[in-house]
Amino acid sequence: MGYTENELAKDLENQEYKFGFVTNIESDKAPKGLNEGIIRFISAKKEEPEWLLDFRLKAFALWKEMTEPEWAHVHYEKPDFQDITYYSAPKQTKKYESWDDVDPEMKETMAKLGISMEEQQRLTGVAVDFVMDSVSVATSFKSKLAELGIIFCSFSEAVKEHPELVRKYMGSVVPMTDNFYAALNSAVFTDGSFCYIPSGVRCPMELSTYFRINEGGTGQFERTLVVADQGAYVSYLEGCTAPQRDENQLHAAVVELIALDDAEIKYSTVQNWYPGDKEGKGGIYNFVTKRGLCERNAKIAWTQVETGSAVTWKYPSCVLKGDNSIGEFYSVAVTNNYQQADTGTKMIHLGKNTKSTIISKGISAGKSQNSYRGLVQIHKSADNARNFSQCDSLLMTDECGAHTFPYIECKNSSAKIEHEATTSKIGEDQIFYCLQRGISEEKAISLIVNGYCKEVLNQLPMEFAVEAQKLLAISLEGSVG
């Protein structure tokens, strides 16, 4: 028979995490806890230069003086930073020369994730830098990219091979003093991705990194740095899933994007980390700092589809420094059971004629809390700045919450700022209409939700959009029958 709100609520509660499996690869890990010794251990393990060790130690000294932020609309037990393992690497540290050398178990893991690398390489032309725990184990398409002068490698490798670039740009957009978690990341980050597109080069393929937290109790502190030199273009994809856990896992990444004059960066994320079980036990804490800097005529577009994590604290932002620069933020955030998300963006208008667009779509189910928090800041210097924000919330049950915290600070009277917000409940009328046309409840929900998120999904590259739709379906699966 037809499908009621209460049934949906019940079904959503019963839905278990799909990607709950653990890969058994022996780890080479640091003892638990955080002190200067551990930082020196990480740095030594990674054979880092002196300047980077100094960077870490300075960040650590700053971090010790800082306190955890409490302004977000989330409630959780604060992590015990002395109970975390800060370094863990798959034992096989040797890079694979060819795909055939890759550990079959690892291949299987990827197959379960539906991202068979062979298939990706052959069919989609996506270059994948697969990060399992903290060390990159496979990088593809590298030679092809190298022909164009594009650098796409693990962060550690970049430190070794391109220290001048890393040194120049690291911390230039997200300084180590930025916030508690950015400081922590700066002290203990283990690996991540680095990408540099030379002047005037249009990267011919989507660059993609799959992160995966794999070692019990290992915090992941990824660092990503993407630099598009003048007139360059790159589309960068980041996607995550994590195995099921009992204890909370902390993830505090830093992502910095730099778009120099006339450059464009599209940064797309599909995130599906373990959200905890239906009682709210376990799950990932995702405290991420993502920010991009736009120089003159540059454009940065963040697109994210967030379905996972127990607690999310994430505001991909744009600093529109150059005149005529453009910042965009497109987001779908799904929360279920006891998940909490406080996510949004900051658009900082400094240059003249700068434009920003914010489209945020929240979907709350179960007993979850979903908040949009956004800041639009127009500085004195930003003549004729323009912002459009749209924040929509969709409620699936009576027990969940949707919240909107939009902040607008305007110091230039020539600015035009628009803000639209809606809150709606998934309509029984819509579902009945679909059912009456012969469409099953499950497909109806999927259609309605995908339709609701369409403006955001449209921003994703094709292959990623398909994956994102699958994720949305998985997140809401069991919501029917």
């Binding site: 028979m1 037809g2 499908y3 009621t4 309509g427 029984e428 009328d429 819509q430 009945f432 209409y433 679909c434 059912l435 009456q436 046309r437 012969g438 469409i439 099953s440 409840e441 497909k443 259609l447 309605i448 995908n450 339709g451 609701y452 998120c453 369409k454 403006e455």
Partner: protein, 251 residues
Amino acid sequence: MITIKNLHASIDGKEILKGLNLEVPAGQVHAIMGPNGAGKSTLASVLAGREDYEVTEGSVDFDGADLLELSTEDRAREGMFLAFQYPVEIPGVSNVNFLRTALNEIREYRGQEAISAKDFMAMVREKSAIVELDPKLASRAVNEGFSGGEKKRNEIFQMAMLEPKLAILDETDSGLDIDALRIVANGVNKLRSEKNATIVITHYQRLLDYIIPDVVHVLYDGRIVKSGPKELALELEEKGYDWIKAEQEAK
């Protein structure tokens, strides 16, 4: 096609249908008229399987199947179509995506293969012409930003696409100007055949100038109280419903 016997249905504990009997054979068009609150739209909702209504008594045979035992979507897959009085908007979902999903679900239910994109688009072109629907509307989101007339034409377009055995038109004429009314009625007439049946629910006789019914029924206080040829509609138009009420009260 459909045989309704002694149907009782209520919503929130209030009985709306109070022992309704109705038989519509294949190849015929039956009109159901009646004053406000008689239960016309309730009948449409109950037959389509809207959950808010509880059927407390009676039976409905739909082309050999026990309709009341079927889920809402299976009723649709068995060939029942309801043209909504107030078509629902589904933002972000294109009409074609919606219809292709519906069509393929119905085909799967019937053990048929999914329709190819090419055949589907050809079908869209052919069927949208029946109701003079701009094919561009087919790629717009379902009913979103459609005018009242476009929404109703879209309902008949969907009906043409899904090729139901029984179509129930719930106040399809409401909110239509005379030109739109003619277009919608023409569409319905083109879809009439010996194999399907249509129930037209309407307040006004006007629609029946264009869709000529085989039988006109008067629904009053949850029951069919009078049935007759198409001339009955004219009589109702002329005399209103008071005489029906008086007749019933006299009983």
